[in-house]
């Protein structure tokens, strides 16, 4: 059964249709990519899934639950994490704190425990810290652990963005252009992370990316959007042959 189903979603801003009648099926355990020209509605799609926008029409289901009108924290609590296209970090905090924060929902202790900081609260906080350290290891962020996120270079911030989403330990990870602003080498690193995430942690990945090389190489499934409509979908090979896609996005090389 499909993990995430987007059925007939339309999203309008005033007169502008950012998405129109989009259908998507995201299979569990795979990497699904969404591509398309700028302003095609890719980010809007992720926003609809993660609850930042609510579709004007249509529905989105996760497993059996309808999340069309859920707010972001509800979606996140269902196990869908999100990394943003434009950096949305807690820029006044250190990398470590950014990651610790992401575990909010997984920490179950009461307010009273917190005030007195005994028993449960202290134990769970220690576990939380341990978990975050594994992510820091995994994403190779050790050197930046204690530095203020706002002072890091663009590329590193993007990495923190992905790491933070990972910290949520989600079922589905939505990545919005995680490789923008990186050079070849760094892209390779991120690709490796993404593939490891998918393989080792069995997380379903939804990827929005402009680097066709990356997309074609690692996706299991691709959706192509243009002006808010799906103009093609399928395996990388299928998409690469699709004339509409070539015209709208890839261009003749």
């Amino acid at each position: 059964m499909a993990h995430l189903t987007v059925s007939d979603v339309t999203l309008s801003f005033g007169g502008l249709k950012a998405l129109s009648n989009v259908d998507m099926i995201i299979e569990p355990g795979l990497i699904t990519s969404i591509i398309g020209p700028n302003g095609a509605g890719k980010t809007s799609m992720l926003n609809c899934i993660s609850g930042f926008y609510h579709p004007t029409r249509g529905d989105i289901f996760y497993k059996d639950k309808k999340l069309t009108n859920s707010s972001p924290h509800q979606v996140s609590n269902m196990g869908i994490a999100r990394a943003f296209q434009n950096l949305e970090l807690f820029s006044g905090l250190s990398v470590l704190d950014n990651l610790l924060l992401a575990r909010h929902q997984n920490l179950k202790y009461s307010f009273l425990h917190a005030i007195f900081f005994y028993g449960k609260a202290s134990r769970i906080e220690a576990e939380n810290r341990a978990h975050v350290e594994t992510i820091i290891d995994f994403m190779e962020l050790e050197p930046y652990r204690k530095s203020l996120v706002g002072n890091l270079s663009y590329g590193v911030q993007k990495k923190v963005e992905v790491a933070r989403a990972l910290t949520l330990a989600p079922d589905i990870l939505l990545l919005d252009e995680p490789m923008a602003g990186m050079n070849q080498e760094e892209k390779e690193d991120i690709v490796r992370f993404v593939m490891d995430i998918q393989k080792e942690k069995e997380i379903t990945v939804v990827l929005v990316e402009h680097d066709l090389g990356v997309v074609m190489d690692i996706s299991d499934q691709i959706y192509v959007l243009d002006f808010g409509e799906v103009i093609g979908s399928g395996t990388p090979e299928e998409v690469a042959q699709n004339p509409k896609v070539i015209e709208a996005y890839i261009g003749e090389d």
């Binding site: 801003f13 398309g36 020209p37 700028n38 302003g39 296209q85 434009n86 002072n151 890091l152 270079s153 663009y154 590329g155 590193v156 252009e177 923008a180 602003g181 990186m182 050079n183 070849q184 080498e185 760094e186 892209k187 390779e188 690709v191 490796r192 593939m195 402009h210 066709l212 090389g213 990356v214 190489d217 690692i218 996005y249 890839i250 261009g251």
Partner: protein, 268 residues
């Protein structure tokens, strides 16, 4: 090609008085040329551009060593406004358009430092829409609602309105779809030819950057590690592998095959 328009000599930049980011960077930009600056994340490319355009101060950074000369004048410690007036304008990383201003207002703002009369400015304003016809459809829309590519064009047009001698672009291809990248870089080339604007472009997308530039620098951890005419660098095997993803066989290497170990770069 004429003499050097910009000369960056051995500068060192420190943030917050403690974090040293640039460790002796030198660049020369010839008049009328296109020069590209490549490098890894956090290498200090953005910092270099900030240093040249006098915008370190707001970030609590400062040039501690070395000097920068623009058009023969020492600009090391000048403020951003003065440097713009002298003719060096930067298009900042992440575009930074004025979200709540209309597209046209964004472009007009670029002319704030100019003193050559409103007629000339209006003329240039028209000219921008010739360069970026895409923008002429959306002149009265809030810039914040424009797509990424449009915002990049707005940012470039805005910078051009200052009638600069030298334009510095910080990752213009960031987040743009392949077709748009092409369009933007075509535009850059055109601007260089038609307006005779010298261009310094910082890029992650080495392929396109090397394709349009005459000369290139590669930067890592605050130092220039490699430089040369773009043509030569395009053939450098390390550049090929690390910046363009081309294997020794000349084929594009697949991301699926990336290994967890890293080959050492020869220049390190």
């Amino acid at each position: 090609m004429g003499k050097n328009l910009l000369e960056v000599n051995n500068i060192e930049v420190v943030y917050n008085d403690i974090i040293q980011v640039l460790r002796g960077v030198s660049l020369n930009i010839p008049k009328g040329g296109i020069v590209s600056l490549l490098g890894t994340n956090g290498a200090g490319k953005t910092t270099t551009l900030r240093a040249i355009s006098g915008l370190l101060k707001p970030e609590n950074g400062a040039i501690k060593e070395g000097y920068i000369k623009f058009n023969g004048t020492d600009t090391t410690h000048l403020m951003g406004t003065d440097i713009v007036k002298m003719g060096a304008v930067m298009v900042p990383e992440g575009r930074r358009v004025f979200k709540h201003l209309t597209v046209n207002e964004n472009i007009i703002v670029g002319s704030i430092t100019r003193k050559d009369g409103s007629a000339k400015i209006r003329e240039d304003n028209e000219l921008m829409y010739k360069h970026f016809p895409r923008l002429s459809n959306v002149t009265n829309r809030m810039a914040g609602y424009s797509s990424g590519g449009e915002q990049q064009m707005i940012a470039i047009a805005r910078a051009l309105m200052a009638a600069p001698e030298m334009l510095m672009l910080d990752e213009p291809s960031l987040g743009l779809a392949p077709l748009l990248v092409k369009e933007i870089f075509d535009n850059i080339q055109k601007i260089n030819k038609e307006l005779d604007t010298t261009i310094l472009v910082v890029e992650q997308n080495a392929k396109v950057a090397l394709a349009i530039s005459d000369y290139a620098y590669i930067m890592e951890s605050g130092k220039i590690v490699l430089e040369g005419p773009s043509k030569e660098l395009q053939d450098n095997p390390d550049v090929k592998e690390f910046y363009m993803g081309i294997t020794k066989g000349g084929k594009r290497k697949s991301f699926k095959d990336v290994k967890s170990y890293k080959r050492r770069k020869r220049w390190m």
